[in-house]
């Protein structure tokens, strides 16, 4: 548990002069139309500074995934302001949103690997989206080696364990060295040890590449990797603090 040390940012959300990766201001979000229109996010204000690892927790249905997909440029936005990596997302067209996504690494609860492709080919698909052909294989293999799968580059997902598959998915998300990683319960499908390994890996790689991570999780065993923990309740951002403060104010059992 080396990450439980005190080298976390002393006092939570002050990023003053630091560079900002994501800036959310007065963001409301609704699902549905007309009578079925239902608000799920209320006046969200959030800033993620570069290089931070932020964990978002909150009860089921509180809007975590929704916020993540908005930041990930996966949904249309008309109101408020959402600035991701220096780009204002509100009002962008679909194809402009696609461009923004290329700088973001996504990690899902399910690995979503093509079972017809080897680990390396799955990772290469990510390299190819940037029209980078020359050394795609080399980059994929290096990335897989970094996630500890050097021996498994030519295996198909079927021949990999759950944790290994998730590590391939992480390699795929990280191979283009994105400035922002969005992860939604990346450990939910993994056992305790694999989950821990995957998160530690994300942390190490993120620190090396200097990228920002926003991770949704219900898994209180991994909260310690966070520089910051935000809590979303019923579409409202309730608390925003570092791990130590968070663990003092929250009964661990209530987090599950």
């Amino acid at each position: 548990m080396s990450h439980l040390s005190n080298d976390l940012p002393s006092d939570s959300p002050h990023f003053s002069s630091e560079e900002i990766a994501v800036s959310v201001r007065h963001l409301d979000y609704y699902y549905g139309q007309g009578d079925l229109r239902k608000q799920v996010l209320y006046d969200i204000n959030l800033e993620l500074s570069k290089g931070q690892i932020v964990i978002m927790t909150g009860p089921s249905g509180s809007g975590k995934t929704t916020l993540l997909t908005l930041i990930g440029a996966l949904r249309f936005l008309q109101e408020g302001s959402l600035n991701v990596l220096g780009q204002e997302l509100v009002g962008l067209s679909k194809s402009e949103l696609v461009e923004v996504r290329r700088n973001i690494g996504f990690i899902f609860q399910a690995h979503n690997l093509f079972d017809s492709l080897t680990a390396s080919q799955n990772v290469e698909m990510a390299v190819e989206v940037l029209q980078d052909w020359g050394n795609k294989r080399q980059r994929a293999v290096e990335m897989l080696a970094q996630v500890g799968l050097a021996e498994r580059v030519d295996y198909k997902p079927k021949a990999l364990s759950g944790g290994q598959k998730q590590r391939v998915a992480i390699a795929r998300a990280l191979v283009n060295q994105p400035s922002l990683i969005l992860a939604d319960e990346p450990t939910a499908a993994l056992d305790k040890q694999s989950g821990r390994d995957v998160v530690t890996l994300m942390q190490t790689l993120a620190k090396e590449q200097g990228c920002t991570i926003l991770m949704v999780t219900h898994d209180n065993r991994i909260l310690d990797v966070a520089d910051r923990i935000v809590n979303l309740v019923d579409g409202h951002l309730e608390s925003d603090q570092n791990f130590t403060a968070f663990s003092q104010t929250h009964d661990p059992k209530a987090l599950v």
């Binding site: 990930g72 996966l74 996504r101 979503n112 080919q121 989206v129 795929r172």
Partner: protein, 388 residues
Amino acid sequence: MKMRTPLAWFNLTHKRQRLLTALAGVAFAVVLMFIFKGFENALYDSQVQLLKALNGDIIIVNRIKTSMFIPEKFARRRLYQAEAFEGVDAAYPLYTTTADWKNPDTKKIRPLRVLAFNLSDPVLPLPEILAKRSALQMPRTAMVDSKSRSEVGSLAIGTVTEVAKQEVRLVGTFPLGTDFTSGNGNVVMSDQNFVRYFSNLGPDDDERNLNTVDIGLLKLAPGANASALIQTLTQRLPIDILIYSKEDFINKELAYWKENTNIGFVFSLLTVMSFFVGVIIVYQILYTDVAEHWAEYATLKAMGYSNFFLLTVVIQQAVFMGLLGFLPGFLISFGLYRVTADATGLLMQMTTLRALNTLVATVIMCLISGAIAVRKVQSTDPAEVFGT
């Protein structure tokens, strides 16, 4: 390795069972299309197999003989006149009539088509006929089409039976095949025998002599320009005849049967239906595949791949399916054509052009399926893969 990862290919091939089902589906549609198209073609091809076998570059017929079905004749001297033109090497008359044939086994009477010509003219240069020219010189001899209907009876050499109620002796057989005008089959005899049998018929029948010709054949001198010559002949000869290149005459005959029978239409319809059966089969397979991979496709979208890219993946998969499925379909059809031809005597011909046409139809079939199936991918919302 400067290539894109061939995702479509891997998706298609990685589950062997799925691949085999897919290819069997495509092959099934291909076989249906080939078989129905084959019957339709056989129907029309057989109408012109005699014309194709005739040895002439230019064909002359009576102006009102709009099809082989119409028994109109023209004056033989038109052929002599044509022969005098520069560029014409030879002119051959062909006499045809319909005659009653007595089945030597059952004694039942069946109509056959008689083809008669001067044996020194290579009018119908089938090797079987050329080999029997001297036997055919003998009075009251004939050869019969070995592809005649079985109603014609046994065709062994030396068989004696009756044609037009007069004795005839069989000296051999030749393979040609029946058509709508041929009755139960074809008989070949010398022009001299033709006169013997058909010049002194009763008052009700059409008496024949060698002065009127059913079909005239012109052979061109080497290097002669056929279309120019046809134009000259048409201008300079009396207007009671029509002059065609052999190819035009064959096409005119085909057009006549296409316009005047709807059995061809039935087979065309069946071919088109097979095409759409194929569209549905391929669509089902592609849709299942796409639906199974929707989360992966949505992830690609989240990674920044465009809808257009996903479209190309599904379309490529469809085209691969078409090409791979065509091959077994073609081979099976090829075999079935043989079997059908042997069993029924139908003229089932697999030509390169027809194979290519069906290949193109197969690829279009798969493209349509792909275009429908791809809508599933295009509508996948990458936001949906989160939280699932």
